[in-house]
């Protein structure tokens, strides 16, 4: 059974307060700002969160209420209201969960802020109405909580002693004597308004002693709440019951009335060990009470005995059942307590023995004992050696030196440090205290440890030797070789020629830029002259004369050029005889004829005195200049100097000044 701590039940707020608390918490703990421009999923999430949060809070609070309030079995109609209230709380909780679920489902399909908001308002509103409806139950539970908080904590399972009897009989004084609980002792009735618990010890066990409020002899239905508490407690707990009887009658009730009470509530004492205690014996001893009262007392005792018999106890102990004491003089108080405790203990033990659990355990045990066939003693046989060894071991244990003893001998904890390597198992015991370095020259020594390291090292050294020899040989070989100066010159020439060729090629390379739109066919740059050929051939070492002559004899323009110098000094016949295999015979014939018929005219470079030139060279230069100036500019559809010219490479406005917007990281 769960331990309830009645004092720690949380306050149950009433309906309106409850709603206020939860709603204000929702407002504080969830985000509050939302605009209709947000994404729809975000809006939905926002409102769903609010609904869920509210539901969770309600659920939590209601659950705590339900859990903290104790669940009492249906023993008396008195508790109906209580159960009903708790049931209502439970249903409210479930209703709220349902509401939240439904509205969250609806919110998933909300399509605008307004709609989501309406849904949320509806959800929260419904939840709040649910709570408002159970407002009355909440108020009722709050009252009960306040009442219960004043109840002391009772463990229903431990050994309990119940004290009951008429008000003002002396129960509280008894408790004060036995336990440390300080119970009100007042002379008038109705002092104890609820149960009081104290603890006492007997035979090293703790006993709970519960004092019930004064029970008046009235029918059940007329009892007030306080008395109902006590009665239910009686019925509920498994305890030993001490019924107090005031012999002297100084409480205000006669023995007859007390007997009547006893008889009316004896039904509750069915299975409990009952002891009748006659209190205030200092005022009037038992023997001196009148006859009728004695008879009543004896009746009560008989009843009490019945309970004893019912438990299977011995009927002879009537001392145990009826006891005298006086709390004022403390006469017999301890006896009463002991008797009660003893009875209770016996009953509990018997109960446990009878219970199923024990039976289960007992069934599994079976100690087998062989039946003795004769009276001879047969003790267990232990050989002598073992006994001696055992004795020796015991002695050794005392003699063996511990490490701690060693430490103490050598100066204590701070002075002596134990040698951890003492018990190492090594090939040679001298090595025990060796300190091996872990690091050497920037390497971890452990990485190099290898059984055959020496062998490998030898191999390595051999290898290294060989390699060094090889290197030396290589170096020696390499030193002899070099190019002779002749070779060097030739190489230089070759490289120069190559680079020239490459350059030429690059110049000649026909790209879109350099290619004229109208291509030229014949030797515009005057590359292919016989002079040039002669130069090149002679550079190679060949005599060019033959080649030149051949070329000239075959050339077409031979006849076209003015060969004045030739004509002057030579016979024409010789010239003509040379041309055996000229291609353009016709042309040849005509040109020579023309040259013959013409009269001797002046060469253009001849200096005529009236023209104003100094000498032939000057005139030649002047003619050249004249010709050059008339020459049409060769455009050839090529990019000229005027195209794509950057007049200023570093314009000032780009290379200086700050920018109005932006960075000036690069210019």
């Amino acid at each position: 059974m769960v331990q309830y701590n009645f004092k720690k039940i949380t306050v149950v707020p009433n309906g309106i307060d409850f709603v206020d608390i939860i709603l204000s918490r929702t407002q504080r703990q969830t985000p509050t700002v939302v605009h209709k421009g947000y994404a729809i999923s975000r809006l939905r999430q926002f409102y769903m969160r609010k609904v869920k949060y509210t539901q969770q809070n309600f659920h939590e609070k209601l659950s705590t209420i339900i859990d903290e309030f104790p669940r009492l079995d249906d023993i008396h109609p008195f508790y109906d209201h209580y159960k009903l209230a708790l049931g209502q709380i439970n249903t409210a909780r479930n209703l709220i969960s349902k509401i939240s679920k439904d509205y969250v489902k609806l919110l998933k399909y909300g399509d605008s802020l307004y709609r989501c908001k309406c849904l949320k308002v509806a959800a929260l509103g419904r939840m709040c109405t649910v709570i408002k409806r159970i407002g009355r139950s909440l108020a009722y539970l709050e009252q009960i909580r306040q009442h219960m908080a004043r109840l002391p904590s009772i463990d229903p399972n431990t050994r309990t002693i119940l004290i009951c009897g008429y008000p003002n009989v002396g129960k509280c004084s008894f408790i004060n004597k036995i336990t440390r609980a300080d119970v009100d002792v007042q002379p008038y009735a109705f002092t104890t308004k609820s149960l009081f618990v104290g603890h006492t010890d007997y035979k090293y066990l703790r006993y709970q002693v519960i004092d019930t409020p004064g029970i008046l002899d009235r029918p059940f239905e007329d009892r007030n709440i306080i008395e109902m508490c006590s009665i239910t407690a009686l019925a509920h707990l498994r305890a030993a019951v001490l019924f107090f009887l005031d012999i002297s009658g100084s409480c205000g009730y006669s023995i007859a009335q007390q007997a009547a009470l006893f008889h009316s509530i004896k039904s509750l004492f069915m299975n409990k060990p009952l002891i009748i205690v006659c209190n205030k014996t200092d005022l009037q001893p038992l023997e001196s009470i009148p006859e009728e009262d004695m008879k009543l007392v004896m009746e009560m005792k008989a009843e009490a005995m019945k309970t004893v018999i019912g438990q299977g106890g011995e009927p002879t102990n009537d001392e145990e059942v009826l006891l005298m004491m006086s709390t004022l003089t403390e006469n017999g108080v301890i006896a009463v307590k002991n008797a009660a405790c003893e009875r209770l203990l016996n009953q509990r033990v018997e109960l446990k023995m009878k219970s199923k659990k024990l039976n289960d355990c007992l069934n599994r045990f079976h100690v087998a004992k062989p039946k003795p066939r004769d009276q001879k003693e047969r003790p267990p046989c232990i050989p002598q050696a073992i006994l001696e060894a055992k004795a020796k071991q015991a002695a050794d244990k005392e003699k063996r030196k511990m490490e701690k003893d060693l430490e103490d001998e050598n100066g204590g904890a701070g002075v002596y440090s134990a040698s951890l390597k003492k018990n190492y198992i090594l090939a040679n015991d001298e090595w025990k205290e060796d300190i091996m370095p872990e690091i050497l020259d920037g390497h971890n020594v452990c990485d190099f440890v290898d059984a055959d390291i020496l062998q490998r090292l030898e191999e390595l050294e051999r290898e290294e030797g060989l390699r060094q020899a090889e290197e030396a040989a290589d170096d020696f070989e390499m030193d002899g070789k070099e190019l002779t100066p002749e070779e060097q010159r030739a190489l230089a020439e070759i490289r120069k020629k190559k680079s020239l060729l490459i350059q030429q090629h690059r110049i000649k390379k026909s790209t879109a830029e350099s290619r004229p739109t109208v291509p030229r066919k014949f030797d515009k740059d005057r590359e292919y002259t016989s002079k040039r050929m002669g130069r090149q051939l002679s550079a190679l070492g060949i005599d060019p004369m033959l080649a030149i002559n051949r070329a000239r004899s075959r050339s077409v323009s031979r006849g076209r050029k003015r060969e004045r110098s030739l004509d002057r000094g030579d016979t024409d016949g010789d010239v003509m005889d040379m041309d055996v295999d000229t291609p353009n015979k016709k042309l040849r014939v005509r040109s020579t004829s023309r040259s013959r018929s013409r009269s001797k005219s002046r060469p253009p470079t001849e200096v005529v005195p009236g023209e104003g030139f100094k000498d032939v060279t000057q005139k030649g230069k002047a003619l050249k200049l004249a010709k050059k100036s008339v020459k049409k500019r060769n455009k050839d559809a090529r990019r000229g100097e005027a195209d794509r010219v950057i007049p200023t490479l570093k314009p000032k406005h780009l290379f200086s000044g700050k920018r109005s917007t932006g960075k000036t990281q690069r210019r």
Partner: protein
């Protein structure tokens, strides 16, 4: 106690230096100094950062494969202590170091030396193949040496005189 290698620059990390970073997948990165650590945080690849060993090895600046590297290997089984073995190991470490250092130096020297031999070979080949650019094969047949022919200047008059003669 172990000497570790820096993850970034591969230098040894002595005790009391550097930072260790443990990633969520339990991989440990050790750095020898804040320079390497900061480079790592910048997500730089050590194979692209010139001064690290990783770069140098990758680009062939330092020796990569050698038998001296195989002596040093992380062993996970503890060995029983043996004084002789320990002594030999310590001596061996020194010798192996020496060998390794000389080999590395040689590697770098070789790299720096240049291609004199190769160039020589190339030059020789070029001479053989391309001598015809500066000396005609006919002339070469007469005169096997590599002396260059003397350039003769060719003028028009000379050519004519030749012509006249014939």
């Amino acid at each position: 106690m172990r000497l570790e290698k820096c993850w970034f620059c591969s230098s040894t990390i002595y005790p009391g230096h550097g930072i260790q970073f443990v990633r969520n997948d339990a991989k440990i990165f050790r750095f020898c100094r804040s320079k390497c650590h900061k480079n790592f945080k910048m997500k730089r690849n050590p194979r692209k950062v010139k001064w690290t060993k990783a770069y140098r090895r990758l680009h062939g600046k330092d020796m990569t494969q050698d038998s001296t590297f195989e002596f040093e290997r992380k062993r996970n089984r503890p060995e029983r202590y043996d004084r002789n073995l320990a002594e030999n190991t310590l001596k061996a470490i020194k010798k192996i170091d020496k060998v390794r250092v000389t080999r590395e130096a040689k590697h770098i020297e070789r790299r720096m030396k240049g291609k004199k031999g190769k160039e020589l070979q190339e030059a020789k080949k070029e001479l053989e193949q391309n001598i015809s650019l500066v000396k005609a094969p006919a002339v070469l047949k007469e005169d096997l040496s590599l002396t260059l022919p003397i350039k003769v200047k060719v003028s028009q008059t000379q050519a004519e005189s030749h012509l006249m003669e014939e």
